[in-house]
């Protein structure tokens, strides 16, 4: 028996039960319109569903009864006892059919024409007083009431004494009534709560018994523990429902929309059996429906448009649900026209949500996310013009309320996909327990991307841009919030070692600085007291296994409080979940620091080259031989004004300085203002237009000058390049750099040149091989992987095959440092694999490669 039928039977049985009582009431008080309406509604529902399920016999009977009730309701006919009896007869007939359905799953054969005729007669008014059909019918009520399971089929017989119907009772009787019962949600909720408490108490007991030595309790406690776990699982199961339940109405909805809009739409649903907590299910039902409606309405084009665009005539909407960890991922995708970024831009400008300049710097994903802004959708024009947006803010809010996230991916002309990530259940979540300012807090795991230890030996250091802390994590700058600061707690004096909880909210990734990280723990989320509801930083509170109360942090609230979510984005969309990270860390995108110096043209320098950003007080800047200097970390650091000249009297009180450092040498580049950090594709035009700059590139719609780091480093003094090479790590050893991009050559040469290596650079692998043939000698080779013509892998193979350079250390330089790539590189013969821009790693790799086997 399929689920639909089972549901129908459960529902109908309930309806029938209610009907008996209501009809009897109606008989006593024929003028009671409320009861009459109720009866009519139930019968109408049964009739409607029967028709839907193709249960024709039942539909016929219900329809006849409904007719009579309809006449009663309209006042065209007076409620009479005989009428009620006939209806009761019809209900008994239906009950009989239901019983048979439960047994066999099919409608029993039978002839109800006499019953229907009598009902029709009543409806038409003729037979109202006529006792003829009423007499046999009137008998029926009697047997109905007392015998519950077995009798109904019998009761079918009386009205017209259908022989066929009476043959049915057996299957109905053999099979027990449906193996499901309806329990109110309250009961389940109550159970869930009790079980949650039980789990907590169990945890407390276990903790106590671990401390104590009294083993008498150990065994029963163990049992209690197991049973509690099983019970918890069982109760959780009662609340789990397949997501298909929330989808059941979608095919119809899509069909109707298709007809209405003149579109051909195929709906594909995958993973309908994926189960999730019914509470969550209820909460996502409407948003899901809404998104599907949006896809059908706005996402998909008309057949003509589709054909014109070279797409199949029928549009597709795909729903896909799957489990991932403790979450459910639901994707709602269409192959329609996609979001029109230009229209969104216009809308954003029109509504003043962002300035043109801000928009210009935003990646497309960021712009698409505007559809989630409140109020963005209200104007009808948006719906008609730009495509989407009806109430997407509501959808997003609803998702966030249950600890979920929603993202949009769209390609113009190709379609749109919404990806929703929600917890399986709201009742118990896995959380990371952290400490900040002496207090413990729980952070739900759903938002936690990774944990980074900072400030310790060999660990990454926290840095500051103006007053905000950032962490350079791999090749990105991660904005940080200090939890103790955010919560106004006293933070410990030393920031020596801390942890950064890298958290993702929507497309935004940020780090939360905490003092300590404990364990993860399963927690039962309890709402906070009403007088604390205004503190949006918390999503609830809970009791830990040790019995203490702990507040649960709300990453959404933190993001809002710190403005992370409102910022123009820092290429965060790049990371967007680990699934996509691998594909998107392309070597062509580079984190750049944007700043202003001298003139109005923004300038950029790869973030990877900068050691630190400092604010130097004007008073601390000294003049030595016409050159500004500053005492920095116990040493003198030369400062180079990027604008060409520096005047103490006109200088700002605090001078922003980009610090380049190498070994114990540092140099500072004085700039006017630090603007931003972006991740951009590098495309430099007009190389070397003016000294100090490699050329210009367009970043965020603005012409930006790219700093020639090597040139500026020379300005700091010749000794930067290590004339006293004895003390340098490189010791003048010869390195061959194979790199097709002039830009990267210009970055790498000074970087390793500064460390005392003697660098020769070539633009392609063929040239490198020519140098080999020419008999040049090197101590190590650094090569790019992706190059036109012969690539790095091929070069490595060629070198390893034989020849003078066969045993040289070979270091791969690439933006793609995934394990598989590394493996491929190693197989080809590379000694080591280093990410582009990771200067420290490159130098370390060189040092190791060169120190280990050959040179002394």
């Amino acid at each position: 028996m399929d689920d639909l039928l089972a549901d129908f039977l459960t529902e109908t049985n309930e309806g029938l039960g209610a009907l008996d009582a209501a009809l009897v009431r109606l008989e006593r008080a024929p003028e009671d319109m409320a009861t009459l309406s109720e009866v009519f509604r139930i019968v109408h529902t049964i009739k409607g569903t029967c028709g839907f399920l193709g249960l024709t016999r039942m539909e016929g009977v219900a329809h006849a009864a409904e007719n009579v009730l309809g006449r009663y309701r309209d006042g065209a006919l007076r409620v009479t006892q005989s009428g009620i009896s006939a209806i009761l007869g019809a209900i008994d007939c239906i009950r009989g059919i239901v019983a048979a359905l439960e047994g066999t799953g099919a409608e029993p054969a039978g002839n109800d024409s006499a019953l229907i005729a009598s009902l029709d007669a009543i409806a038409s008014g003729e037979a109202a007083p006529a006792p003829a059909p009423a007499a046999p019918v009137a008998v029926t009520p009697a047997p109905v009431a007392p015998p519950a399971p077995m009798a109904p089929p019998v009761a079918v017989a009386p009205p017209p004494a259908t022989p066929a119907a009476s043959a049915e009772p057996e299957p109905g009787g053999v099979n027990a009534p449906p193996q499901t019962i309806r329990v109110t949600v309250d009961v389940l909720e109550g159970l869930m709560m009790l079980v949650s408490e039980l789990v907590l108490t169990r945890n407390q007991l276990l903790q106590l018994s671990r401390n104590g030595t009294d083993s008498a309790f150990a065994v029963p406690l163990q049992r209690l523990s197991h049973i509690t776990s099983d019970l918890q699982e069982g109760v959780m199961k009662t609340r789990m429902q397949p997501i298909g339940n929330a989808w059941a109405k979608l095919p119809r909805l899509v069909r109707d929309l298709g007809v209405e809009l003149g579109k051909k739409i195929e709906l594909e649903m995958r993973g309908a059996e994926t189960e999730l907590d019914r509470q969550v299910l209820e909460l996502i039902k409407d948003p899901l429906t809404h998104m599907v409606r949006n896809s059908a309405d706005h996402g998909l084009e008309t057949p003509e448009q589709r054909i014109a665009a070279g797409k199949p005539e029928a549009g597709r909407i795909m729903l896909n649900a799957s489990h991932e960890g403790g979450h459910i991922i639901i994707e709602i995708a269409d192959d329609g026209r996609g979001l029109n970024a230009e229209r969104i831009r216009q809308k954003v400008l029109a509504q003043g949500l962002a300035t043109e300049a801000e928009l210009a710097t935003m990646p497309e994903r960021e712009i698409q996310r505007f559809i989630f802004r409140a109020g963005f959708s209200t104007a009808a024009a948006v719906t008609a013009v730009s495509g989407r947006g009806v109430g997407m803010d509501v959808v997003k809010t609803n998702m966030e309320r249950i600890g979920g996230t929603i993202e949009v991916r769209s390609k113009e002309g190709r379609g749109t996909a919404f990806v929703v990530k929600i917890p399986l259940t709201l009742a118990i979540v896995s959380a990371l327990i952290v400490e900040a300012g002496g207090e413990r807090f729980a952070i739900p795991q759903i938002g936690v991307v990774e944990l980074v230890r900072v400030g310790g030996e060999g660990a990454p250091q926290l840095e500051r841009i103006k007053d905000s802390a950032v962490l350079r994590l791999r090749d990105r700058l991660l904005p940080l919030v200090n939890l103790s600061g955010l919560l106004h707690l006293e933070s410990p004096a030393t920031e020596e070692s801390a942890f950064v909880v890298v958290t993702q909210v929507g497309p935004h990734v940020f780090g939360i600085i905490v003092d300590r990280v404990f364990d993860t723990e399963e927690i039962v989320v309890k709402p906070v007291a009403p007088i604390l509801r205004h503190v949006t930083m918390f999503s609830g509170n809970t009791i830990l296994g040790d019995g203490s109360v702990i507040m649960i942090l709300d990453p959404n609230g933190i993001a809002r409080a710190t403005g992370v979510g409102a910022e123009s984005g820092e290429g965060e969309a790049e990371r967007d979940g680990k699934r996509q990270a691998a594909a998107q860390r392309s070597d062509q995108r580079t984190a750049l620091l944007l700043f202003r110096a001298g003139d109005a043209t923004p300038k950029a320098v790869p973030l990877g080259l900068i050691a630190r950003l400092e604010d130097v007080e004007r008073e601390r800047i000294e003049n030595a031989g016409g050159r500004p200097l500053v005492q920095y970390r116990g040493k003198l650091m030369p400062l180079v004004p990027l604008s060409g000249h520096w005047d103490q009297s006109t200088a700002p009180e605090r001078q922003p300085v980009l610090v380049f450092s190498d070994g114990d040498r540092t140099m500072g580049l004085m700039v006017d203002e630090i603007l931003d950090v972006v991740e951009e594709h590098m495309a430099i035009d007009g190389a070397g237009e003016r000294p100090g700059f490699l050329g210009t590139t367009v970043i965020g719609g603005k012409v930006t000058e790219m700093l020639d780091t090597a040139w500026w480093l020379r300005q700091a003094g010749e000794d930067w390049f290590g004339h006293d090479a004895e003390h340098q790590a490189g010791g003048g050893r010869r390195i061959l750099l194979v790199e097709d991009s002039a830009f990267f050559r210009n970055l790498v040469i000074p970087a390793i040149g500064a460390a005392g290596y003697d660098v020769t650079a070539v633009a392609n692998a063929e040239e490198a091989l020519r140098l080999r043939e020419a008999g040049l000698g090197f101590d190590a080779i650094i090569s790019d992987i992706a190059m036109p013509g012969m690539d790095g892998i091929a070069l490595a193979r060629a070198l390893r095959e034989g020849g003078a350079w066969r045993d040289l250390p070979l270091i791969a330089l690439t933006g793609r440092a995934e394990p598989a790539d590394i493996e491929r590189g190693r197989a080809a013969g590379f000694t080591d694999y280093v990410a582009k821009f990771d200067r420290a790693a490159l130098l370390e790799s060189l040092r190791q490669c060169l120190s280990a086997p050959v040179v002394g």
């Binding site: 907590l200 207090e439 007088i531 604390l532 503190v535 930083m537 509170n541 109360v549 507040m551």
Partner: protein, 164 residues
């Protein structure tokens, strides 16, 4: 705001001589807050606890001392001293007692320096708040009883919990 609607399960003040003439006495639990004697209607009280471990809640109103665990339920603790504008407890104080009350299904603990005894007090003897009483106190007090040499402030639980 909600003053009119409920005064906790205890018979309310405005009904003097009215509907509940048969119960001429209200029963109070006395507690001390910075030497001030207060009375909380016993019918409003769910529990009285000794010194508890209380978790601070950052960003919460100052009156909220934190939350504590009462047999698996989370109870929000209200520091009566702070609520009544009294100086904080001295450093060496052994900690506060918790008088747990319920409002709208939520449990709150009123932190008092000491919990005294359960006293039936004739309703007729309750005097209205002196007009000169501090505004904060007038807001949370349902009247004053004379207990020997001391004055007992009748705490209106509903008002005490109206924070923020």
């Amino acid at each position: 705001m909600q003053t009119q609607t409920t005064t906790g399960p205890a018979p309310g003040l405005p009904m003097r001589g009215g509907l509940q003439a048969d119960a001429a006495e209200d029963i109070y639990l006395t507690l001390t807050v910075a030497d001030q004697l207060c009375g909380v209607p016993v019918l409003a009280i769910r529990d009285v606890l000794g010194v508890q471990a209380i978790t601070r809640i950052p960003l919460a109103p100052a009156e909220v001392a934190g939350s504590l665990n009462l047999r698996g339920r989370i109870v929000t603790a209200i520091d009566l001293r702070c609520r009544l504008g009294l100086p904080p407890r001295a450093e060496g104080h052994r900690g506060a007692m918790s008088v747990v009350v319920e409002r709208d299904g939520e449990l709150y603990s009123l932190l008092a320096d000491q919990v005294g005894e359960v006293l039936p007090l004739p309703r007729a003897e309750r005097a209205p708040n002196p007009v000169t009483l501090d505004a904060v106190w007038r807001d949370v007090s349902n009247g004053v009883h004379r207990i020997g040499e001391r004055l007992l402030i009748v705490i209106n639980v509903e008002r005490i919990l109206a924070i923020g």
